[in-house]
Symmetry: none
Subunit: 242 residues, 2 copies
């Protein structure tokens, strides 16, 4: 209660989980750390109620979990979307640590909803799902045996958020632009770059991935999106008055 | 390897665990966080090899685990014995947090062996076992639902130790674009916006201030600046090949 209420603005999103027991263990860990909002994208069938068994009393989180067909729908109402990834891909130079992430997220929670997205066991998030994330967090682990169990990964992130909330008085931060607004901006940006022939030599994907990460890190406010889209419109239609 | 070798001097001791699967999940988590030494006091029978299944590749830790009849025997060779407990009993006023514990333990590891002791699921360590511990650590959790899964509790402690060991050498981060580069980019941006008539109605200052803040938060790397300036050049000279 009290200061930990702001953790209701954190959503844990599990994408294409394979094992129902892991969803249960995640629910338990979330409830231990004061998190309440669980979203499931393409969850597995669970004929034996295995998730409830592993939830050990946190079954209410599973029963109240929102279910979605795509990650884009699951995060449509969130201002900041954070993907978890253990691979340090070529385009993911700026990964955050869980502690760093908690320091970023907790002061924002007063006025924003934040989603933290976990991919399926073994493979993690696919590239198309990572592209929807504004920041990437990587849990440190031993290079010789780096792959964490899904509920262990959630435990580390949730623990860091819980500790940071306990340590930090709530602050007021400006509300950021929502994920839907951001997607419209990215489509507008890609369309404009196509109009001016920017993609002539290479496929848009790599450039757009970099631009998504770049503007994701910028934590755009609604006014920023208006300015940027105003610029794009002016580039597309130079003679039209603003 | 390298600096994480000193984690070989940390032992995880599980007392009277009920569920073999939890021992497997603990082994996996230990190996993720560079821990290698597992001791089992009165472990459960495991006819179905459930522990190996949950270990997901860390079965070697279970097979090489030392087995004991009492906690006193298990910690006989350790210099510091730390008990985990979630209850704040009358005799346990001075509990440490996991982070505090890591700060205490890591500097000692060069010349000492440290045991961290976890009791059985649900009830935790009994009083007689807690009495053998020199320090008590409590994992923070929500008062309304405080009881962590055993492997989740080990994950939090092992993660804090791993992070504390890693914190010794400086972390390598990608180099960000320098201030001079950024200024050149901002001048290029302002010039381009002037070229396309974006500032017709208002002075550039306010807009440029917002754009500077926005791109400042994005922590631009040199490659990001190249992409953005490539876009600006294309806007200024649409027909010039890139």
């Amino acid at each position: 209660m009290g200061s930990s209420n702001i953790l209701d603005n954190v959503g844990i999103v599990l994408v294409h989980t394979k094992t129902p027991g892991n969803i249960g263990a995640v629910a338990r860990s979330m409830m231990n750390m004061g998190l309440s909002r669980l979203a499931l994208v393409r969850p597995p069938r669970d004929r034996d109620n295995e998730a409830e068994k592993f939830a050990a009393g946190a079954g209410s989180l599973i029963r109240s979990a929102a279910r979605f067909a795509t990650l884009a729908e699951a995060v449509a109402g969130d201002q900041l979307v954070i993907g978890t990834s253990r691979r340090q891909g070529r385009l993911r130079q700026q990964v955050r640590s869980p502690r760093d992430l908690a320091g970023l997220v907790v002061p924002m929670l007063a006025g924003n909803r934040v989603a933290i997205v976990f991919g399926r066991e073994v493979n993690g998030l696919e590239r198309k799902d990572l592209a929807l994330c504004h920041e990437i967090v990587t849990i440190p682990s031993d290079k010789a045996f780096p792959s964490l169990n899904l509920s262990h990964a959630v435990t580390v992130i949730a623990y860091e958020l819980f500790v940071a909330v306990q340590a930090t008085p709530p602050a007021s931060r400006p509300a950021l632009a929502g994920a839907e607004d951001l997607e419209r901006f990215f489509r507008h940006l890609q369309g404009t770059l196509q109009d001016i022939g920017f993609f002539s030599e290479e496929r848009p994907d790599r450039i757009m991935f970099s631009l998504r990460q770049l503007f994701g890190r910028a934590r755009l406010e609604p006014r920023d999106v208006r300015i940027l889209r105003g610029i794009l419109t002016k580039v597309q239609h130079p003679s039209r008055p603003r």
